[in-house]
Symmetry: C2
Subunit: 246 residues, 2 copies
């Protein structure tokens, strides 16, 4: 039976989502729990997508095929009792054998949190601490240029595969909430480091070093060296995933 | 010169505030940083009060006598560069030599957060996770009985010293915010575990096991065995301290 599993995690202690030999990853912890439940039969988890080292997820999905007969509720409970306390299964659902947690994705939403207040030690792994002023109005003006279908080559780090970099961003919003700047992107998919690279550019704009309208030119240049540095991982969250069919 | 130091910390990794041989404590980390700045001369920090293992502080104060000539701003910076990232100095201020960080306290405010939503792995050290329904209206009715001057003997754990347990609570409020129950107490001082023991009783009331009006009787009994168990440390924060004179 194929199960779609909705889960969340604190990425602070992990070398990212995807399994890597000799490193602690979220995928490994999830698959260890699944394998145990599936009577020791090595069980894979196919996730919506990877998240990098230090990035968090409030809503991540993956599918897994489990042979043992188990209800959705019991699978949730069994997963959580076999997972460390920084990874949590929110919900499980039986899906058809043709459902695919990556291919069936309609949209993903990422959120990035910048803290411009005094440093708070409780949030050290959960926000990007920025100790200077940001011109949020300029950032709001700039973020609009990301909306739509573009070739995001200028925002990809490590594009060794020379993959297709055309992606569509449906929604891009900046909100200010008591000294926190919250940047939200919804799109049909994101390239490696794309969100953190877009945020890096928005920060440069907030600093007044680049004008908002230059975003358009930077996108068109399709050259990573033209954009800004990557914003740190700890401020990034995968917050929502939508599927075409369930 | 005497400095009053305002600081915050994530209590998760520490065996409480107060120095204890062989254990990691917040006081030890603060005093190590102070001693380093004070040219190696062993420097003590006299804090507003202790917090227990796992308890957090968004606003804690302590005073220290420093011989070296250093501005308030530089002391803040020097402290933060010598502290681990889960302890943070917010502000420092030169005070008179007679100022005392504990004796001069006018009021302290503690907050306790109960999460009744789905477990969030990012908040695992910062809220008490409660997976059942709470009748918050009953809790609101009950909390009023704590206001005023009372002998809080029924809410003290480990009262070996047979100390005076009379304390005054000025303000006691419960708010609900998107599935979080936030309990705030302001008073002239709190006994060991008092807040967590009062919260423990409020939870029992929220569960419907005790009626709100029974709080009055439990206080009057002056017997710890009559109240409820201690709520866990991770939900508790010291959030404000006020002084009579600065």
């Amino acid at each position: 039976m194929r199960y779609l599993i909705k889960f969340s995690y604190d990425g602070s202690a992990y070398s990212g989502f995807q399994s890597q030999k000799g490193l602690e990853t979220i995928q490994e912890k999830m698959e260890d729990a699944l394998t145990k439940i599936n009577n020791g039969k090595k069980t894979n988890l196919v996730a919506t997508g990877r998240t990098d080292k230090g990035v968090h997820a409030l809503c991540q999905y993956g599918h897994a095929d489990i042979d043992v007969n188990i209800t959705e509720k019991k699978l949730k409970r069994a997963m959580n009792s076999n997972l460390p306390d920084d990874i949590h299964v929110i919900e499980t659902k039986v899906v058809s054998d043709t459902f695919h947690a990556r291919y069936n994705v309609k949209s993903k939403t990422y959120q990035y949190i910048i803290n411009t207040n005094e440093y708070n030690p409780l949030e050290r792994n959960y926000v990007f601490q920025y100790n200077y002023k940001l011109d949020v109005d300029k950032m709001k003006e700039a973020i609009k240029y990301f909306i739509g279908e573009h070739d995001f080559r200028s925002f990809v780090t490590d594009n060794k595969d020379k993959e297709n970099c055309i992606r569509k961003i449906n929604k891009a919003v900046i909100k200010e909430d008591h000294g926190k700047v919250i940047i939200t992107f919804t799109g049909n998919g994101f390239l490696r480091y794309q969100v953190r690279n877009m945020v890096g550019l928005l920060i440069k704009i907030g600093e007044g070093k680049i004008e908002p309208k230059e975003v358009k030119e930077i996108i068109l240049k399709k050259d990573r060296t033209k954009a800004s540095k990557t914003a740190p991982a700890e401020g990034l969250y995968l917050v929502e995933v939508r599927y075409k069919t369930m």
